[in-house]
Symmetry: C2
Subunit: 406 residues, 2 copies
């Protein structure tokens, strides 16, 4: 029993036409017009595949295929919203791959023991309404309904109003019940599988992430008449921090650390910078590793203060703890890869996914498909048909292992 890439590629391509840009990517921000059109397409495909579709009070769409037994379903899915000018596979692959699994089971007349459900989570990207992974988080108990309903986009439009406007405000009773297991197929969005020459990866967990803001206060002065030894240059000090942050990650296996945002004041060619505000993004698979990075950063701040004449304030304002996926569910994914004769990598996801919150309520795991150049969140995102097919077949066979057959 196999998923064929032809049909999957066709549905991915047709969904990508909704909100498409001329150069291959597209924009389907959560609850916008293109997102609604995409939902309508997916609902039609779900129904055509024989799924009974319901929509919950967060707009999460669930299509159910009965099993031989009652009880918790094996849930497969991801999201169909996108970033601005994003790629065609990010999210969509997990939803449409799950739909392809259902079609393959239908084609082969297979009845699973447990029910199967396909889910399209609302607002995974968090681009239009923050935070990300909002509605998988809501049904997993992370976010209160009032909180989610009150989130606004940059034009002040409320989540709940927009959900009603596009016709996807359903009932609380139609939320996915706590599943027997959750599987999410997704593009890697990073270069690890490509560098290792592997088509698919078994995702063992989602790294812990912590975000900090460092404010470096020096003294703005005329760049000419201020001798080097008398300066309090905030940017020169910030540069030591940036280099130090990079070193922290190089010193600890599996760590990444990034200064992505940095603003200089007054930012004038002939004025010594008086102030720099910069972000620090630290990630590690283990809670201990994450705290080691934070402690390293704090030490770095003291060292830079001691060697320069600036003051540095550090504010740790957000943390997402590391999540290890379920060993039994991971076993099913690995067994599926081995059964298909597919070489596979084992890796951690450096980015958040809906599966992170699902692991709070049920055994979960993810499957990654190799990303060309590791590129994602851009129109250049690409995975080959062969890799996409490999990933979808891992999803199929892992799902069958978890759901059982009669």
């Amino acid at each position: 029993m196999r998923v064929e890439v032809g049909l999957l590629g066709e549905s991915v391509g047709r969904l990508a036409e909704v909100g498409a840009s001329p150069v291959g990517g597209g924009t389907r921000l959560a609850l916008g017009g293109a997102a609604r059109a995409g939902r309508d397409l997916v609902r039609g495909w779900m129904e055509a595949a024989g799924l009974r579709v319901r929509v919950d009070d967060f707009g999460n769409m669930v299509g159910r295929r009965d099993g031989a037994e009652e009880g918790p379903a094996v849930l497969l899915g991801s999201h169909c919203d996108s970033v601005r000018r994003g790629g065609r596979f990010d999210g969509a692959l997990g939803v449409l791959g799950a739909l392809e699994v259902v079609r393959a089971l239908n084609d082969h007349g297979v009845t699973t023991r447990r029910p199967l459900e396909v889910v399209n989570w609302t607002n995974e990207e968090g681009v239009r309404f923050e935070p990300a992974m909002m509605c998988s988080g809501a049904v997993s108990g992370r976010f209160a309904k009032d909180y989610v309903y009150g989130r606004t986009d940059r034009d002040g439009r409320r989540f709940a109003d927009e959900l009603r406007r596009i016709g996807y405000l359903g009932r609380e009773a139609d939320r996915p019940a706590p599943p027997a297991a959750y599987l999410e197929l997704h593009v890697e969005q990073g270069p690890v599988l490509e560098a290792a020459g592997l088509p698919v990866g078994v995702v063992e967990g989602i790294v812990g992430i912590t975000w900090l803001e460092a404010t470096v206060e020096g003294r703005a002065d005329h760049a000419g008449p201020s001798p080097m030894r008398l300066r309090r240059d905030a940017l020169a000090a910030a540069a030591r921090l940036v280099s130090g942050v990079e070193e922290l990650a190089h010193r600890l296996t599996d760590a990444v650390a990034t200064v992505g945002r940095l603003a200089v004041e007054p930012n004038v060619i002939n004025t010594i910078p008086g102030k720099v505000v910069m972000s620090v993004d630290l990630r590690h698979p283990s809670p201990e590793g994450l705290e080691t990075l934070v402690a390293g950063l704090e030490k770095l701040v003291w060292e830079v203060e001691a060697r320069t004449k600036v003051h540095i304030a550090l504010d740790r304002f957000w943390t997402s703890e590391p999540t290890s996926f379920d060993p039994g569910t991971l076993d099913a994914v690995r067994a599926a890869c081995e059964g298909l004769g597919l070489p596979f990598g084992r890796l951690w996801s450096g980015a958040g996914h809906d599966a992170k919150y699902l692991q709070d309520v049920c055994p979960s795991a993810m499957i990654f498909v190799r990303s060309a150049g590791g590129l994602s969140h851009c129109e250049e995102e690409y995975s080959t048909p062969e890799d996409v097919e490999a990933g979808a077949n891992v999803l199929l066979h892992a799902a069958v292992r978890l759901a059982g057959t009669v």
Copy 2:
């Protein structure tokens, strides 16, 4: 014979009231309403001190006190325009100090051998109309009349139109004739004299300045799924450049180097920076020193490219060559300090001044007055009455030495 600080402080204070802000500084942008009111005040004071005032075709105001002989005058002055919310001494001290020199000569009935002239140069700051030191540059042959007249402010108003509007468009024949010598009294705008505990400084020249822009091209990627060794982080590379630029200046005596402006793209907390554009401002008193700094920067760029995976483009877009002041004129300033029993420093100006262009056409020198905290171009700019008086007396006695008495 001495200048008393009381009268000088009074005229500085009254000029500062024009365009004043509530916290001690003020704004008199070139050719604006406050600048016109300031000019009117200064013209009145010049005339009251017996000077014959003329205005040239760039709005430069010259007040003449005849000497016993005809021939080139000794010219004393600076500028009365200011930056936005600048201090009360920057520029004004040089014009009003020169006026005080005239009053002291009048009070003591001294006739100089050479004529004395007091000048108020138009648009030294270059804030409203670029470039800086525009009208001392124009009469010294640096800038063509058409070029100066056609310069526009950010609202598109032309220099020539604004000069006519405020009533200060004079005749080409009234430009200051090439002087016998030029002396400019100015606040230091830096911390050197304060750090050395000296009230005044003999300014031996104006450093050479060169401005470059470095464009660092890496690759924007998601901060999570990109392992450190596979990144092309433009900001991490730029941080090495910033640190390297600082080191370049520390390695070469009398050098300063500043990265004042730095912009990150896309400047998002969880995206590895793909591009950084940054300025580099290099300064040194000697042409060789300046080129050593540039060569050091070029080597640094190669090193950073070799150690990272970014590409760096370097564009050197502006250079102002170093200017050494005239040894004989500097001797007169030093002798004046010694005659007054004043301890003095010798230093180079890290910033441009009108005297730079005057040195092209006549022997020139400058006198610096200690700046509290080295602060300038801000409302906190301050020099003590004692230091201001010391500087004005150096100007008086150096002028007398250069002009001679009968």
